[in-house]
């Protein structure tokens, strides 16, 4: 049976832990052993929305595992601009490859693609809904930094309303034990009710604040997010909140050594470059974890077993 990776909602804690274990195995595997694991396989990359890290890390992963890559990075040069439906695009492209990674501006696009397709579909972001591979790499980074995910105190900061990485991460973290959330956002960008309903399950604690200082003083992880201009229906609303939170080295001066800063990137002004040289910066380590986790994901989704 073909496997898909669409949403954290459908992934049990055990399934998440399996992905984390697989990534840990890929981390220590010599490149010479990896280079033929997906030989003869082709990855179709269908990015209807812009991306740097997610697309390039999937492409790099496929190449490092011996496979090949086809696809597009924006819909403008495809039949989509002629009015082709997503379903027709999937029915066509599935003939050309063995697995599809899709990013799409509409929520639910990856699920619709998975229903149509005869080959596995990996969701690389659907509107403001889910971004499960980012979540798995975020969890892998936390696991590496702290040795566990249970009992972590995690501040989510910035755009909690539109950020799909936050929505996916919340869905995943509630499956772990005694995770504490501090939700830091301007009032207009609070975590939506349809995500907070996920918080009503599981053993965790959640609190909302508008004060970033509180997160610096009390949390293990600060998960910063960019205020995403492209998600705002009203540009004036974006202008009001765009620089709500700015983390800099001065703010981190007396932070506990255990505190680590994560960010799905790209960053704009929310993390000052002077944070990069502090021991708290872990967002580039997170990028490296992304490559490892995506090796595990592609290999597993294509039916591989180590």
């Amino acid at each position: 049976m073909k496997r898909n990776l669409i949403s954290l909602d459908n992934l049990s804690r055990n399934a998440i832990v399996d992905f984390l274990d697989l990534a840990a195995q890929f981390e220590v595997m010599p490149a010479s052993k990896k280079e033929k694991l997906l030989s003869g396989k082709i990855l179709g990359v269908l990015f209807f929305e812009a991306s740097t890290r997610t697309r390039l890390s999937f492409e790099s992963t496929m190449l490092r595992l011996g496979g090949q890559v086809i696809g597009f990075s924006e819909a403008i040069n495809t039949s989509v601009v002629k009015g082709e439906s997503l379903q027709d695009t999937i029915r066509t492209v599935e003939n050309y490859c063995d697995v599809i990674v899709i990013r799409h501006p509409r929520e639910g696009a990856a699920r619709l693609a998975a229903e149509i397709s005869h080959i596995p579909i990996i969701n690389a972001g659907d509107g403001s809904n889910q971004h499960p591979t980012q979540t798995l790499l975020d969890l892998f980074t936390m696991q590496k930094l702290y040795g566990q995910i249970d009992k972590l105190k995690i501040a989510m900061v910035g755009d909690l309303k539109y950020s799909r990485t936050v929505h996916s991460l919340v869905h995943a973290l509630v499956k772990f034990k005694d995770v504490e959330f501090l939700l830091v956002s301007p009032d207009s960008l609070r975590l939506p009710e349809y995500v907070t309903s996920a918080l009503e399950t599981g053993s965790f604690h959640a609190r909302e604040t508008t004060d970033l200082r509180e997160a610096v003083d009390s949390c293990d992880v600060i998960y910063m997010t960019r205020i995403q201009r492209e998600r705002f229906p009203d540009p004036l609303e974006y202008e009001k909140v765009k620089d709500s939170y700015r983390l800099d080295a001065a703010l981190l001066k007396n932070a506990p050594p255990r505190l680590k800063i994560l960010h799905p990137l790209p960053r704009i002004n929310e993390i000052s470059v002077d944070v990069d040289s502090t021991p708290h910066a872990a967002y580039f380590q997170q990028v490296a974890c992304g490559l490892i986790m995506r090796q595990g994901i592609l290999y597993s989704i294509l039916g591989g077993k180590l």
Binding site: L86, Q87, R106, E107, G108, R111, L112, Q130, E193
Partner: protein
């Protein structure tokens, strides 16, 4: 009031359907739903409003003089007014009755109120909702993964 007087107020029907145990005041809401199902355009319908009820204290009821109720109408009714009783009447007697429960899965009937849900943009894409809560009913969109109250879903239903 005697039994004969009650019969005069809301006449018995020889053949057809009675929707009973409608919470008092909700009968008009159901008539609005009836209006959205054109198969019922020529059916004679009687509304009894604020009738005495042992079960509810006060209730509304609707009588349809027709040989069948469209399945889509019953599905619609089960979504907005779960718990009502539908009785099939033959020769003035109740031949069968069912209590309408909200469906666990609603395929293709509801529209997603989220304007950015793929089901609102893709030609031929069907919708799929899973029941989250009963009374009041709430559903989860299988595509955009958002939760909606029945009143939000009702507002997004295509009108005639």
């Amino acid at each position: 009031m005697t039994a004969t007087e009650r019969v005069l107020l809301i006449p018995k029907i020889e053949n057809g359907f009675v929707i009973d145990h409608i919470p008092a005041g909700f009968g008009l809401e159901i008539l609005r739903v009836v209006n959205q199902h054109h198969e019922l355009d020529n059916v004679v319908i009687t509304l009894g409003s604020n009738c005495k009820s042992r079960k509810l204290g006060r209730k509304d009821l609707l009588k349809f003089q027709t040989s069948q109720l469209p399945p889509r109408f019953l599905q619609h009714l089960s979504l907005i007014c779960s718990g009502v009783t539908v009785k099939r009447i033959k020769n003035f007697e109740v031949e069968a009755k069912i209590v309408l429960e909200p469906p666990e899965i609603v395929e293709g009937f509801l529209a997603c109120p989220n304007p950015n849900c793929i089901t609102n943009h893709e030609r031929g894409a069907s919708t799929s909702f899973h029941l989250l809560n009963r009374s009041p009913n709430a559903f989860h969109c299988a595509y955009c993964e958002r939760d909606f109250s029945m009143s939000e879903l009702e507002a997004a239903l295509p009108k005639r």
